[in-house]
């Protein structure tokens, strides 16, 4: 497996994403209980763990959907904890959603194009026709090709098949060319063949970026990830390369069980 020499990587550059003692409680219930994690520049990092372990909550804290109760989140040297989602996105972090979260009445093409506009600097531009923006058009076309939806470009996103919507979900996430990508269960609900396609797609689109993903499918995780963190009851009990995660006894007893042999 193609594993990066992690020690030297972390010495050379600061981590792309750095979590320090993140805590989150809903009311009196602690859900995230002091998570610290470094995701290195350019690595593919997976978070696994049992249901209710806090994986999705952690994603929501990083991406700004919720503010953490305490702790710091640093994205490429900038503090982003408790910023609004759009502000975090503008600083170079994009995420996908476990439950498909697209623009249902817009065409597939418009879905992607809306997602490239800010990063290309068009912001709240109201004096130029959006169809005349060549760079937006070119990037949108390129992403449609990557996610293999070119032939569906004019269909309203709401009528796509489930697998197509999942591909569009990833397309929207990568369209803004963010340096750090968070994918929340990208292959959930897919057939084996669809999941294989999705893995191939994720491999391509995460090239040159930092990827943090939550995934239940162990085949996908061990196939794709450079490093794996195991989140159990709001705490990370291990972070390591896949081969050592498989052998880790604490992980096996807490979560993996026989799946580690798969």
């Amino acid at each position: 497996m193609n594993v990066k020499p992690e020690a030297s990587a972390s010495e050379r550059t600061p981590p792309a994403l750095e979590l320090r003692d993140i805590r989150k409680s809903f009311g009196a219930t602690p859900v995230i209980r002091g998570v610290s994690l470094d995701v290195h520049e350019g690595e593919r990092h997976a978070i696994i763990g049992p249901n209710g372990g806090g994986k999705s909550t952690l994603f929501n804290l990083i991406s700004g959907r919720f503010a953490p109760t305490s702790g710091s989140i640093v994205l490429c040297g900038e503090k982003i904890a408790a910023l609004a989602p759009h502000e975090i996105n503008r600083r170079g972090l994009a995420r996908s959603f476990q439950i498909t979260n697209i623009f249902p009445r817009l065409s597939v093409y418009e879905n992607i194009r809306c997602s490239v506009l800010w990063s290309l600097g068009y912001k709240y531009c109201f004096w130029r026709g959006v169809d005349k923006l060549r760079d937006a058009r070119e990037r949108t076309d390129r992403i449609l090709e990557q996610i293999r939806l070119t032939t569906r470009r004019d269909a309203p996103a709401g009528v796509l098949t489930y697998a197509e919507q999942r591909a569009l979900e990833i397309g929207i996430t990568i369209a803004g060319d963010a340096r750090v990508i968070l994918l929340d269960e990208p292959t959930a609900g897919m057939s084996r063949a669809e999941a294989d396609n999705a893995v191939a797609l994720i491999r391509v689109v995460s090239q040159g970026r930092t990827l943090l993903m939550v995934e239940h499918d162990m085949g996908v995780v061990f196939n794709l990830a450079d490093r794996i963190s195991v989140l159990v009851y709001g705490e990370i009990i291990a972070t390591d390369i896949p081969s050592r995660i498989r052998r880790n006894e604490a992980v096996q007893s807490a979560y993996l069980g026989s799946a580690a042999d798969a």
Binding site: S63, A84, P85, H86, N89, R90, A94, R95, F97, N101, I102, F103, P104, R105, L106, E110, R113, C114, S115, L117, W118, S119, Y122, K123, Y124, C125, F126, W127, R128, G129, V130, D131, L133, I172, A175, G176
Partner: protein, 440 residues
């Protein structure tokens, strides 16, 4: 030879560019030709007809501006007349300044309305657009009431009950136009309406206009691709305010008076009805709604004092049976108009129309007689409805009307399967045609 080619080339290029431009904007060219010709069409070439057309133009701009909020951004406002009315007041004051000697031509007056609409759109919008959905709707309702109350509290600016008047004829002459005739006023309105429609169409096709659609569809995702959804909503709100203010300015020129009714909840409700009846999902929908409702307001009110009731019924029937509005209905038929089964659909409609007409006649007789008896007893019980004279004191007209309504409804229900069968056949055929077209 080569010399003549050199001379011809720029002319050819110019002609080519012009043709290309005309081709890309042919719907606007067609619209301007229609607007140019309308006040000379028999039936509309009277002062009444031209006044009706002028009102339609104003309503169309107002409804289009409302749809920037409702259809494009998914924001339901109950107080859009605020921007129409405040634009109207700004325009009428501006017109008074011109009356007192400011050397600016009268057709520029709507710009003062647009500026005021934009200003108040930004001002009130920065409060209202913090929220979407129900909270947004309630805040707009509150601001509407607030501004309506202000028109009576600040009589110096708003003129109280009587409103503010000005004269559109007392300004510097422009190409010999004095704007005394309704025809000239119509053309001022038509030109501004066309410009406003083109600009609003263009706005939807800008980056921020597209993001309005995205925020309407899914505000959360719009935030996660980098957009501050409040800011996007504020843009939509300000643009809607600007064009509502422009419509208010046209209103000021047309009537030479602006009063409290221009900011009233009634006007806010009317523009909502127009937009919904026309269809929020299509750009021309609000225009269709504005034309029909203005026509109904002007003509129905001349025939019956129960016209508001008919308007309400019309609205109910539209949102119940055609939730995508008249434009949606037209688009639905556009997809089957080329099929052979389309004629079956038309025939089915004709069959269903017969009992529907009887039903309608029964309903109208009932409504008119009830209205007469309960609200205008001083006029007596004998009355003319359509071409018949009835006496509301006698039971027979009531029995006949109820029989027409109930019987018509019963038969009408029986015709629905005929329509449904014809419709399904036509859509099947249209679907098959599409499939073969795709396969090719």
């Amino acid at each position: 030879m080569s010399g003549s080619r050199e001379v011809a080339a720029p002319a050819t290029v110019f002609a080519g560019v012009a043709m290309n431009w005309a081709n890309r904007h042919k719907q606007w060219l067609a619209a301007s030709l229609v607007l140019l010709a309308l006040p000379h069409v028999p039936g509309l070439n009277s002062d009444f007809g031209r006044s009706l057309l002028s009102q339609m133009g104003i309503a169309a701009v107002f409804a289009l501006s409302f749809n920037v909020l409702l259809g494009q951004t998914g924001l339901l406002s109950f107080g859009h007349a605020v921007y129409f009315g405040l634009g109207g007041y700004a325009a009428i004051h501006f017109m008074r300044v011109i009356n007192h000697g400011l050397p600016l031509p009268i057709p520029l007056v709507p710009l003062a309305g647009a500026a005021a609409g934009l200003l108040f759109g930004i001002l009130f919008g920065s409060v209202t657009t913090r929220r979407a959905g129900t909270i947004f709707a309630l805040i707009t309702l509150g601001i509407g009431e607030l501004v309506y109350a202000a028109t009576f509290m600040l009589p110096g600016y708003f003129g109280g009950e009587e409103g503010i008047t000005a004269s559109r004829t007392r300004g510097p002459a422009l190409f010999g136009l004095d704007f005394g005739s309704q025809l000239q006023v119509y053309y001022v309105i038509a030109v501004w309406a066309l410009i406003a429609a083109m600009l609003m169409r263009a706005f939807i096709r800008t980056p921020v206009g597209r993001m309005c659609n995205a925020v309407r569809d899914n505000p959360e995702r719009a935030a996660f691709v980098g957009y501050n959804t409040q800011r996007v909503r504020l843009f939509a709100f300000s643009v809607a305010g600007l064009f509502a203010g422009l419509a208010g300015g046209l209103h000021a020129i047309n009537y030479e008076i602006v009063a409290a009714d221009s900011v009233s909840a009634l006007r806010s409700g009317t523009v909502l009805l127009m937009t919904y009846i026309g269809g929020v999902g299509h750009f021309v929908g609000p225009v269709i709604g504005a034309l029909i409702l203005t026509w109904l307001q002007v003509s129905l009110s001349g025939y019956t004092s129960a016209w508001l009731l008919y308007l309400g019924l019309f609205f109910l029937v539209t949102i119940l049976f055609a939730p995508s509005g008249l434009a949606g209905l037209i688009m639905m038929h556009g997809s089957i108009v080329h099929t052979k089964a389309f004629w079956r659909v038309l025939r089915a409609y004709a069959i269903a129309l017969v009992p529907a007409v009887f039903m309608g006649i029964g309903a109208v007789i009932l409504i008119e007689m009830s209205y007469r008896v309960s609200t205008q007893p001083e006029l007596g019980t004998r009355m003319r409805i359509f071409w018949i004279t009835v006496d509301a004191a006698s039971p027979w007209p009531w029995i006949t009307a109820i029989a027409l309504l109930a019987g018509g409804f019963f038969v009408f229900r029986k015709t629905w399967p005929i329509v449904a069968v014809a419709w399904n056949r036509a859509t099947d055929e249209a679907g098959a045609v599409n499939m073969t077209a795709q396969r090719r």
